[in-house]
Symmetry: C2
Subunit: 379 residues, 2 copies
């Protein structure tokens, strides 16, 4: 999760995002004002403090961030756009929490809120943030589709979802095979079977929603009076957008989408550990020399590729066979597994390297291992 | 806050800490079982989900972590000690939230929970974690005292607080000037005026509590039946400790303790930005050459000390005088402020460098600036 957050920070800050941290407890007044206290229904966790004042646990923060910006009474058009984001725990009283982190009542979300001086500028921001989301999923190596989506109780006039196609997904999508059209079926009026642009037959798939973008206009800024001082020196309502990414959900969805029946697969960039070292079995004839050579390989790697030192695991359960430990390593999803096997006693020593995401076994000298791993990225 | 969290991660992982992330919503059953549902009184935020099931918002996580460990039915003494920690938001319905982040109803806390095979081992763990806390405060350059403390509603048989002496502190402390004795007065029976070891007169001070350690014994493990399989192959209750550090509170307390009437001071290691660059005023005779030389200095620094590139701010409000911007920089607490002042047009160019934490102004060439800043640390 910390690696994924680092990648998100990079992408959000590359589009001018400034990181903030808003409270989980959000006052009932604020939600009454926006109308969402009632609209959210049972999904909102509600509570009272010792003085009987009402709160909800924030599922998203449109109300809170708009109030924050509205409190800056001297905001000038020169200070816009403002692109504020946080990566914090959110709360939703789900009727059916399920599939572990895919749908839980507490989860981590990256939520960005943008404030622009005009509709045109806000639409540019919208495009920029969507592009950052595409960049994120591309860097993670996750096949995704961006589809037209409904605005739901967030509101606004334009919305897209980022979906990972998967059988366990809860959303139904229709896609033009040539990429002209993609939508969540809940946005369609009646059944649509062919692409409105090219006429090709639309394919159907299920998807896991991992991101959602909204062009909000002045829906929230008009409620809290979030204004800036325009070029003409007049107060003007900020044009807003909001942009969510499911942090914990992306972790679970990645595994769901990339894994095979037998093996967990992580996006290499955010795998908990890149490397697993497996020394020889206790009592084997390679035990002593093989263990020492693997130690030396670790040290050489630490020198050549210092960013990987915190990303290595040594499976020192040498009472177990190499085969048993290799099987466990597959289940845990290390992208690279380095075994001191039978050929480690050759001159020069040869290591058995399982490049899991490529599905291949390589027999490499120390230099070969260093070269292979020089491609491994750590955010 | 992210820098402080990085330093805490380093210290906790250096003593074998493994980072976890526990839910904020904690079930009422768990808190009834420990007796704290009633004992915590009004401080606990309580709520119900859509099915009428009771929860609190976790102020600490003894119950939750003990249940987590108890769920591992095959835990062996070989796997102990377990040292689990998290850095998450905590909730307390404070009667009087005040002083901003010093006492708020939502705050970030680092909480570690340890599980040992014997009382002796647990006491070693206790010492180790206390030493890590000392190391943390030393690295931050914060004057602190470790005092005997009451165990309150957490329970256990031994407890210490880490306190930053400060007038606004809510705790009253007595200290032996030679360091033999230090206690929170609430732990004393009646008035104690001289050191029980050396007889010296105790001094009084107020303090801000920034850390708290507890030796818990089996208070919680006996409730959840958190057992491990002993050397003799018998189930045995784990000996526990818990250890808190106030993350957001340390931020506020640092400023409180280090700042002067006019200037904010941060611990250098966790200052939001290490450097502020102030180019010449618009229209001044140094404007063009000075601005270009400051740009070049930034590039040279970025090459020589790449870890500082994300730690630099350029104050490009060149419509303001250097003096006005310098004043703002003091208020914001950058440890180093680099001004392209009158002497920037000399050959070689001389920069005016305010080394705020040392309280000195230096006139340095490019090489001098690089040498000075090579001491600046970023976690």
């Amino acid at each position: 999760m910390e690696k994924l957050i680092r990648v998100m920070d990079e992408e959000m800050q590359a589009v001018g995002g400034q990181k903030v941290n808003m409270p989980s407890l959000s006052s009932a007044e604020l939600w009454h004002a926006s109308g969402r206290w009632d609209k959210m229904g049972m999904e909102l966790f509600r509570l009272e403090d010792r003085h009987g004042k009402g709160y909800c646990l924030g599922p998203t923060h449109e109300e809170a961030v708009t109030q924050l910006v509205a409190a800056h009474s001297n905001l000038s058009y020169k200070q816009l756009p403002l692109r504020l984001y946080q990566i914090t725990r959110k709360f939703r009283d789900e009727p059916k929490p399920r599939f572990g982190l895919l749908r839980s009542r507490e989860f981590y979300m990256k939520d960005m809120y943008t404030f622009d001086a005009s509709e045109e500028a806000a639409r540019q921001t919208y495009k920029l943030v969507c592009d950052a989301y595409c960049s994120l999923f591309n860097r993670l190596g996750l096949p995704f589709v961006k589809v037209r989506a409904a605005t739901g109780n967030i509101g606004g006039t334009m919305s897209h979802e980022f979906q990972l196609p998967a059988d366990v997904g809860e959303d139904r999508l229709v896609l033009c095979p040539d990429g002209h059209f993609a939508a969540n079926v809940e946005t369609l009026n009646g059944e649509q079977t062919s692409c409105p642009t090219c006429g090709e037959k639309l394919t159907q798939t299920r998807g896991i929603e991992v991101g959602h973008t909204f062009y909000l206009g002045t829906r929230y800024s008009s409620i809290s009076n979030a204004v800036f001082c325009s070029h003409e020196n007049k107060p003007q309502l900020a044009e807003m957008g909001c942009y969510g990414l499911g942090v914990t959900r992306i972790l679970a969805a990645s595994i769901e989408v990339l894994s095979t029946e037998d093996n967990i697969r992580w996006p290499s960039l955010i795998t908990p550990y890149q490397l697993c070292f497996i020394p020889p079995k206790r009592g084997s004839k390679e035990e002593e020399e093989g263990g020492a050579l693997l130690d030396r390989l670790y040290n050489d790697l630490a020198e050549a590729l210092p960013h990987l030192t915190g990303d290595s695991v040594l499976d020192d359960r040498t009472q177990l066979t190499i085969g048993k430990r290799l099987k466990d390593a597959n289940k845990l999803g290390y992208p690279y597994v380095i075994v001191a096997g039978k050929r480690v006693c050759e001159d020069p020593p040869v290591f058995e390297v399982w490049n899991q995401n490529a599905g291949e076994v390589l027999f490499l000298t120390k230099e070969g291992v260093v070269e292979l791993l020089s491609k491994a990225q750590v955010p």
